[in-house]
């Protein structure tokens, strides 16, 4: 008893101040969105696209054959000096950066990556350089918007979510769980993971939705009372992630359910997930 009180005193108060205070420090090797330093890139090279495990990088005129989608064949095409990356497929790995003979690719340290629409993940990699003829605005990631007014009235101060793990690797689940620990304390925003879909306002789905989880996912969805929302976390749930093209999985939640928040990463950092959730609830405004 006394020992536990002493331990409590020594362990101290650990809940972070974020978002009111500074966010927790990330590793200097943290990998956000991959970007190309346009001036260094050699037109027509496409070594990055060919190295990418999920064929997330495309060139405007690149032709991908079926083999390439499977991760086997080569990508053919002429470089037009304008690379686009689908952050919904991106694993935030190191393969493109390592493959680039010019060392032109690096990963941004920005953890803010969640969006409201699947299509918003398609962004230019040059980040608006003169060499590529793009503007910073056109290549910026349109971060997630808050829920519409009526939904915000219902869920803004209390959002109960049922988590469904549908075929991932359990790392996304682990980093969702982290948000419940004392350091992050998701409860202070009124967000809680609940044990039954009957208690939930929506689903938080991870994993590519394996064929063997398709029915269970849909049944869980049906058991949630309307109005309800869907949040997907991790590249698996967005696009299939490392399992894109597999017959055994559906390639993410896709059109199966109406998704209102996409959190990319493999797995996303807890800070990326929290940022997405807070944007959804209007606690962080997109302008900031």
């Amino acid at each position: 008893m006394f020992k536990s009180i002493i331990a409590r005193a020594k362990q101290g108060h650990r809940t972070m101040r974020y978002p009111a205070g500074a966010p927790p420090a990330l590793s200097d090797r943290f990998r956000g969105r991959p970007t190309i330093e346009g001036a260094k890139c050699v037109q027509g090279c496409l070594a990055c696209a060919q190295a990418c495990p999920t064929v997330a990088i495309t060139d405007r005129v690149a032709i991908t054959d079926r083999g390439a989608i499977q991760g086997r064949g080569a990508i053919q095409g002429r470089g037009a000096g304008r690379h686009e990356v689908d952050l919904g497929k991106c694993l935030f790995c190191t393969d493109c950066a390592r493959a680039c003979p010019q060392g032109a690719i690096s990963h941004s340290p920005d953890w803010r990556l969640s969006v409201s629409r699947r299509g918003d993940f398609m962004v230019g990699m040059e980040g608006g350089s003169a060499a590529s003829g793009t503007s910073p605005e056109s290549d910026a990631l349109r971060l997630a918007a808050a829920l519409p007014k009526e939904m915000m009235r219902l869920f803004g101060r209390s959002l109960k979510l049922r988590q469904v793990s549908a075929g991932g690797c359990n790392a996304c689940e682990a980093d969702v769980n982290v948000l419940g620990t004392i350091g992050w304390d998701l409860g202070r925003f009124g967000i809680q993971m609940v044990a039954s879909p009957r208690h939930a306002d929506g689903l938080l789905v991870t994993g590519p939705v394996t064929r063997n989880m398709e029915l269970a996912l849909m049944k869980t969805w049906d058991a949630v009372a309307s109005p309800k929302i869907v949040i997907v976390v991790g590249s698996c749930a967005i696009s299939g992630g490392p399992f894109i093209g597999h017959d055994e999985a559906c390639g993410g939640v896709g059109d199966m359910l109406p998704v209102c928040l996409y959190v990319p990463g493999c797995p996303p950092h807890p800070l990326t997930i929290l940022d997405g959730l807070l944007r959804l609830l209007g606690r962080i405004k997109s302008a900031s």
Binding site: K3, A7, G168, V178, T181, P242, D247, P267
Partner: protein
Amino acid sequence: MMSDRNDNFAPLGNCRSIRLAEIPELPFDRFADAIVSRTAAGQRVCAFFASAGKASGSTRLQVVIANDDEDSLAVGCCSVSGPAFESITPACPQVHLFEREIAEQYGLKPVGHPWLKPLRYQRSWTDRDAWDRDRGAAILPGVGDFFRVEGDEVHEVAVGPVHAGVIEPGHFRFQCHGEKVFHLEIALGYQHRGIEEALAGGPDRRSIHYAETVAGDTTAGHATTYCQVVEALSGYRTTVHSHIVRGIALELERMANHVGDLGALSGDVGYLPTASFCGRIRGDFLNMTALLCGNRFGRGLMVPGGIGFELDAPRAGELLARVETAEREVAQAVNLLWDDQSVMARFEDTGPLPLETARELGVVGVAARASGLERDVRYNHPTGIYRYVQIPVSTYDTGDVFARAYIRWLEIQQSVTFIKERLRSLTPPSPAPGIGPLPPDSLAVSLNEGWRGEICHVAMTGPGGSFSRYKIVDPSFHNWYALAVAMRDQEISDFPLCNKSFNLSYCGHDL
């Protein structure tokens, strides 16, 4: 019974390769006898799987056996023509799931298997089906026969696939008499993503990512094992620096998960101080892995031929400081458990797994050591940095929840010591040449002690040097059945606690 000296299994070291032609193809009877006599003598099956045979329609059965007493491995094979073989399970229980897997993947029926049902509810890779199901008919997960205890007061409790927590899906059926569990049957397969299928034909740009996501909480374990199997095949010599960084990452992974498990066990018995301290400290360990490579689970750290991120001196210093802080905090948080009567009352004598049962089932890892088996790849079959540095094996003899918790605590302390020593005498990076192509018609085995237990990867190459078959055995594959056995005669309300004390992977089993 013949002695294992002349049963014609080929000896093979961990992380070594052999030409397929050098593994004698035995008649099935001799192959089966060798497995039975070796396991009866205390050896164990690391992997037992099928691949396409040489003659069309034939199937090759391949086994990897570990002799932990003599620190050696052996591989044996045989060829089966036709759609069936005689089940080895009745004489050697530890192959029961392997045979169900062979039946499911290759449509090859182990005749006489005591409980032959699908393992992952997937379609056969061949045009045969072990259950003669219609090719067009859907295969529904969890649907089929289950053990059933009949009786007026017996009832059945079914749970899952979707569970109440943020965890992976699986289906559990308990046969209960009041609170007491007679039998638990576990049906998995919901997480099946087709990783082994997709690895065949590689290595390619996806391969390492499959290894990283077989079980995401074991990224360092599976990715290292994958890299080592590729390195073994191509005869590549990895630099000492790479070995050290891999070892550090493996031990960080062990500590993160063990600390997390101790916190979760504590939460399951309603003891909140340790639960909340450990939940946070687990994150500190994950952040140390992120310090190494930018990702909390170690994604991108392992690459065939070495590591993706070097460990420079300032970073090593920072890591050392963080490990030392965490060491103090973990000790304080965890030692509360052993001093608290209400915690110990729940941990002790709950979910016991007797030594003999653990041995017969071929249990590995924390669960094996908690039942008294001295079984640890780092000690019995060391590779990489573990060849130079020995980590003592931690064992206990009660096999209950307490033992499985206490082993974790002992191992956390060993890992801390290991990491501190490595960081204080870090060998700087040296240039590493690229890894060459893989040789044709070869086989390599790579074992590592992941935080859950033994991870086994077996790679076979075809005439062109690409993978003709890639077999992965996650430690969970050996251990799920042990959880079911440990639940016999227990209260059903102790299931979450028992389950957590094993903390097995669903996706690692389902691949």
